[in-house]
């Protein structure tokens, strides 16, 4: 159903938005020496109690919409474990949620990043009042992007001003252009 790793990032960020987070941290780190790819999405939203966390992990539980089936988290877990990785969902009611998935970077079945630049652009441009921090690392490149920093520089100019979108496009292409192969 979800065939690309960056789709999971979007899904988890959407979960964090739904949980009314004021800050969401997205980390993508590829460590070739240790053959590990890590995805982590941490938020300070409303979090879950232990019972809800169990329901979410089991699947078919969602509060996003009446027709949502609640399979995002179980699918990510299945992919991580299938790729010799780990999965953890840590949450506390009122404090936030952290989802961490790791994968063996060289695993033959590891899904690709379909379009990480578009994923980050989508997240930043539609962040609204939520602060987003993105951290990306691989062997050659690393960058951090914080919407609070961007907003400070932009003042009243909206994140979706055409010039800002063009800038973010160019910035992301410069930092992670070609980083689509997982």
């Amino acid at each position: 159903m979800i065939e690309e790793l960056d789709m999971h990032i979007l899904d988890l960020v959407q979960n964090a938005m739904t949980a009314k987070s004021s800050m969401i941290e997205v980390t993508v780190a590829r460590d070739t020496a240790n053959d590990i790819l890590t995805l982590r999405i941490r938020d300070d939203g409303r979090g879950m109690d232990e019972q809800t966390r169990h329901l979410v992990e089991r699947g078919f539980h969602s509060t996003k919409c009446p027709k949502c089936v609640g399979l995002g988290i179980p699918l990510l877990r299945e992919t991580a474990e299938h790729c010799d990785g780990t999965f953890s969902l840590a949450s506390r009611a009122g404090e936030g949620t952290t989802v961490t998935a790791t994968f063996r970077a060289s695993h033959i079945d590891l899904p690709p990043f379909g379009n990480l630049e578009a994923t980050f652009l989508d997240i930043i441009a539609t962040s609204g009042q939520t602060r987003i921090r993105i951290e990306y690392r691989d062997d050659e490149r690393s960058f951090e992007l914080d919407t609070q920093q961007i907003r400070e520089m932009l003042g009243d100019v909206p994140l979706q001003h055409p010039e800002v979108i063009r800038f973010l496009h160019a910035f992301l292409a410069d930092r992670i252009g070609g980083a689509h192969e997982a």
Binding site: M1, I2, E3, D6, M7, L10, D11, Q14, N15, M17, T18, K64, C65, P66, K67, C68, V69, G70, L71, G72, G114, N115, A118, T119, L121, D122, A125, T126, G128, L145, Q149, I150, M153, L154, G155, D156, V157, P158, Q160, H161, P162, E163, V164, I165, R166, F167, H169, A170, F171, D174
Partner: protein, 121 residues
């Protein structure tokens, strides 16, 4: 290329008389629930942002929602034009994004063949 370049954009854009005040004329809502994402909502949202950048649209905003599921017609997009009924399009892809922007957002003509729902705001 540095993040500080954004300050120059701010100086230029602040002088722009078209800089929107308050609500945008058109709001585009992309369904980003799990099934929407799986069906291609990432590229649809990015395509709308591309069109805004390419056509210099300063009166259009794109937002996302996880709260609407129409799994059989994903990706789903709503077009909210001020004081007009909300038009919902289904099975949106990059090509359809281009047509929606040209025909509906810019020229005000909904594209009937892609419409799956119309409702009052």
């Amino acid at each position: 290329m540095k993040l500080e370049d954004l300050r120059k954009i701010r100086e230029r854009a602040s002088k722009d008389l078209n800089l929107r005040k308050g609500d945008a004329r058109v709001r585009i809502v992309v369904g980003m629930g799990t099934s929407g994402i799986a069906a291609g909502a990432r590229d649809v949202l990015a395509a709308f942002l591309d069109e805004i950048a390419k056509r210099d649209l300063t009166d259009v905003v794109v937002t996302q929602t996880g709260g609407r599921g129409l799994a059989s017609s994903e990706p789903v997009v709503e077009i909210h034009v001020r004081e007009k009924p909300i038009v919902v399009y289904g099975n949106v892809d990059r090509d359809r994004v281009g047509r929606i922007i040209t025909e509906h957002v810019v020229n005000g003509q909904a594209i009937e063949e892609f419409v799956i729902e119309v409702r009052e705001p």
